[in-house]
């Protein structure tokens, strides 16, 4: 039997070190597998593998030790069950996500919903180099978006409604980054230190801290591998209904600026994050409430944010 390894790879069959054995890669949808799917995977692992699955770092599951003679049978069975196989090679990979606002008490955005939407549009798309996308519901960044080529991080901008403030000083104490100080009995915020996770908003007894903009910070240029690099912010406060469009813009900017063999991280390292940002040219929503100086993140300090959050 002649084997077309590229065809196999597309279908999630990866060559194993041992001759004539394959690893079959499955993917989850934004990190969730139903109990039904888990039972099906367990059965497949018993039938075709060695009775175990390997849980991948990208929220997938792999069944190793599938013999070459079982390839057709197993492929048919996977298809009939409707299980999703993964991909590899120069394609957009499974979009991973943290649990997000749906269940996480810290969540600012519905990271899973966003990831499912992005996955539907981008998964498997052929690109010059492998491209990974991750979505986190808040700056705690549990899905490690800064380690991906493209990362989305839920964020909220705190705005002070001074008339409501009772001057209790709780916000100063709850801020994990000492971004708030009390001056003449009222809080003032240092926007450069604020990580946009909104603890001041969710703690304030009088609701003096309110939500300004809420959306995703869009990171680009993260990767792990042999030379790890953290992504940097290339767009801010992307609303839920514009995530696909904004990711498309990042891919487009990469397409315009990249040289052969580069991943987004390499391109940004060569041209600088400012040039990349300018190419992405995301205008997004402007805050109407915010009265302070222009958000420090729109300038050259974006690199620092990448480091801080990472």
């Amino acid at each position: 039997m002649t084997i077309d390894y590229n065809e196999l790879k597309k279908g999630g069959f990866l060559r194993q070190r041992q001759k004539d054995n394959f690893i079959v890669r499955f993917r989850s949808l934004a990190g969730n597998l139903t109990s039904e799917q888990l039972r099906q995977l367990a059965d497949l692992a018993d039938k075709y593998g060695k009775g175990y699955v390997h849980v991948t770092t990208r929220q997938g599951a792999e069944i190793p030790w599938v013999g070459i003679n079982d390839y057709n049978d197993m492929k048919g069975e996977i298809k009939a069950l409707g299980l999703n196989t993964g991909t590899c090679g120069p394609r957009i990979r499974t979009v991973v996500a943290c649990p997000g606002r749906e269940i996480c008490q810290f969540g600012l955005m519905n990271s899973r919903e966003t990831a499912i939407e992005l996955d539907g549009t981008f998964f498997g798309r052929e690109v010059p180099m492998k491209t990974k996308i991750a979505v986190s519901g808040c700056p705690n960044s549990c899905a490690k978006p800064q380690e991906n080529d493209i990362g989305l991080v839920g964020a909220v901008e705190p705005i002070l409604c001074a008339e409501k403030c009772a001057g209790c000083g709780l916000c100063q104490k709850v801020c994990p980054h000492q971004a708030i100080s009390m001056v003449d009995g009222k809080p003032t915020i240092d926007r450069a230190k604020c990580l946009l996770e909104g603890n001041c908003i969710s703690s304030c007894p009088t609701d003096a801290w309110q939500e300004g903009r809420r959306g995703y910070l869009l990171y680009a240029g993260g990767k792990i591998g042999r030379k790890p690099r953290l992504g940097q912010v290339v767009a801010e406060f992307v609303p839920e209904n514009q995530v696909t469009e904004s990711v498309e813009k990042v891919l487009k900017a990469f397409d315009v600026l990249s040289q052969q063999g580069e991943r987004i991280a390499d391109t940004i390292a060569r041209v600088g994050v400012k040039a990349f940002r300018d190419e992405v040219a995301w205008t997004g929503i402007e805050s109407k409430l915010y009265d302070g100086p222009v958000n420090s993140r729109t300038g050259s300090s974006t690199g620092d944010l990448g480091k801080e959050v990472g």
Partner: protein, 79 residues
């Protein structure tokens, strides 16, 4: 503020997350709406997380003050 009637007291300075909030929540649940609980808690992680969780459960923080190394919170039991 200081002539508020305190109905119950709780010291969570010996506890860590998530027991800090769990104890606070349980205590509040035993109280009546409008009653006031005094909580003494540590700086750092407890002061960053307990107030947000208390507010998230619909109670009202009416006072925060530093007390030596620790903090003192007065919480009014909500619905």
């Amino acid at each position: 503020m200081e002539n508020l009637k305190i109905d119950a007291e709780l010291d969570i300075t010996a506890d860590v997350c998530p027991i800090t909030f769990v104890k606070t929540k349980l205590k509040l649940e035993q109280m009546q709406r409008g009653e006031i609980l005094e909580v003494v808690l540590n700086d750092g992680e407890p002061i960053q997380n307990v107030p947000r969780s208390v507010k998230g459960e619909g109670h009202k923080i009416i006072l925060v003050e530093k007390r030596g190394e620790n903090y003192r919170l007065l919480i009014e039991r909500g619905e």
